[in-house]
């Protein structure tokens, strides 16, 4: 199964202190870009893969979704999601995205924020999503950008002229990357953008949007310490249509 770092006690505690954990969607700077790719949710059946505390599930219901299914591999996450949700139309279930089987009832919109880079068998997951989505349905997701995940020893460097730069190596060598994020030994899967497109197209999705996210000028004005994030994209955000 997927490494379930979210049930590690130290990780869970550290994760709970991140802005996106404390403030929810508003604490995730890339949320406006993800939101922009979502279709109107009114009356739609929505799936959230890697739902965490359930922030997006509740937001979807507030924006008219008929039903929401939130899946996560972490029992700790789901316990907190359930504790913070009072809505019979939101169902949470434990699921390992590494072995995702087609849903019995189709959905209209599948959403995932920063979960797919933990999944080794992404081809299997996309096949399962294609089988779970109604024709014309939407898949909207974010992952860490491959420029961000590629380096063996990721980090900023200072060029001679003081320009911060992100040294890229091993970009074309896909596979696991072990990083120390919140705790030591978190394993993420590095995949090129080309790989994402190829897996999606072969699974029967049309790629309608591809956003290499960085903060806007307004966001940098509000958070000057984010300026370096324009030197290289942090997130890859994709919008797809199920054919």
């Amino acid at each position: 199964m997927t490494q379930n770092i979210y049930d590690d006690e130290a990780f869970f505690a550290a994760y709970g202190r991140l802005p996106r954990s404390v403030e929810g969607l508003a604490g995730a700077p890339e949320w406006p870009a993800l939101r922009a790719l979502l279709p109107d949710l009114a009356g739609r059946r929505v799936l959230d893969l890697g739902c965490g505390y359930g922030w997006f599930c509740r937001w979807a219901r507030e924006h008219g979704a008929a039903s929401v299914l939130g899946l996560d591999v972490s029992a700790r996450m789901l316990a907190r999601a359930r504790a913070e949700t009072e809505d019979a139309a939101i169902v949470y279930a434990e699921a390992d995205l590494e072995h995702f089987a087609a849903l019995a009832e189709p959905v209209d919109v599948a959403f995932s924020s920063l979960a797919f880079h933990y999944v080794v068998n992404l081809a299997g997951l996309f096949a399962g999503l294609h089988a779970s989505l109604a024709p014309g349905g939407a898949l909207v997701f974010s992952v860490e950008h491959p420029i961000y995940t590629a380096p063996r020893n990721p980090g900023w460097s200072d060029a001679a002229d003081g320009q911060a730069a992100w040294p890229v190596d091993s970009y074309l060598d896909e596979g696991p990357r072990t990083t120390n994020w919140l705790v030591d030994g978190v394993i993420k899967q590095h995949r090129t953008i080309g790989r994402h497109v190829s897996l999606l197209v072969r699974s029967g999705f049309a790629v309608t949007h591809l956003d290499e996210w960085g903060p806007s000028a307004e966001q940098i004005a509000a958070h000057p310490d984010w300026a370096n994030e324009r030197q290289r994209p942090s997130f890859l955000i994709m919008g797809c249509e199920r054919r």
Copy 2:
């Protein structure tokens, strides 16, 4: 109009000594990846944007194309292409891709190798290509990869462990980049992958292939000095269907 560096005498002389100029398609390491995206050319009307010496135009005819139109901004290039071509079904014409108008006669396949990164008005070019391609037609092209074009001062760095790395900066700041390639002051347009996808989709193309090219293990075995090219992709190769 587009900076026409190819009619610069020093550039033209240096360009003529590159392996891809001397050996043609076989001297371009990314050619097998481009070729893999081409449909069967038998009986098809083919367009080559930035045809240079006409290598691809002649190859297309050898592979059954009914007719080939080769466009280039450089009179020097076209003179040599004409001198090396004896085939009434290949027509060469001078054209500035910056102001590309729809062709009077539609084509089935549009091809371009390493020309679009010189074009400022890529949206206009894609619109013209959409209008020039028959429905279901193919657009296959390569450009320099944005990881390659992004840095203000491109080049390799050595990390502490001796791993060659390509420091990336300014990735999200699109626009002109002036580099010294063969001669000083060559201007290329840096665009993200997301921008290419967005312009294509808005112009009515479906993105069917996206390849971030680097040399294969076999190519590195034959050319050990290419090994660093796997640290970051050199070329972005895209295949699209005209909807």
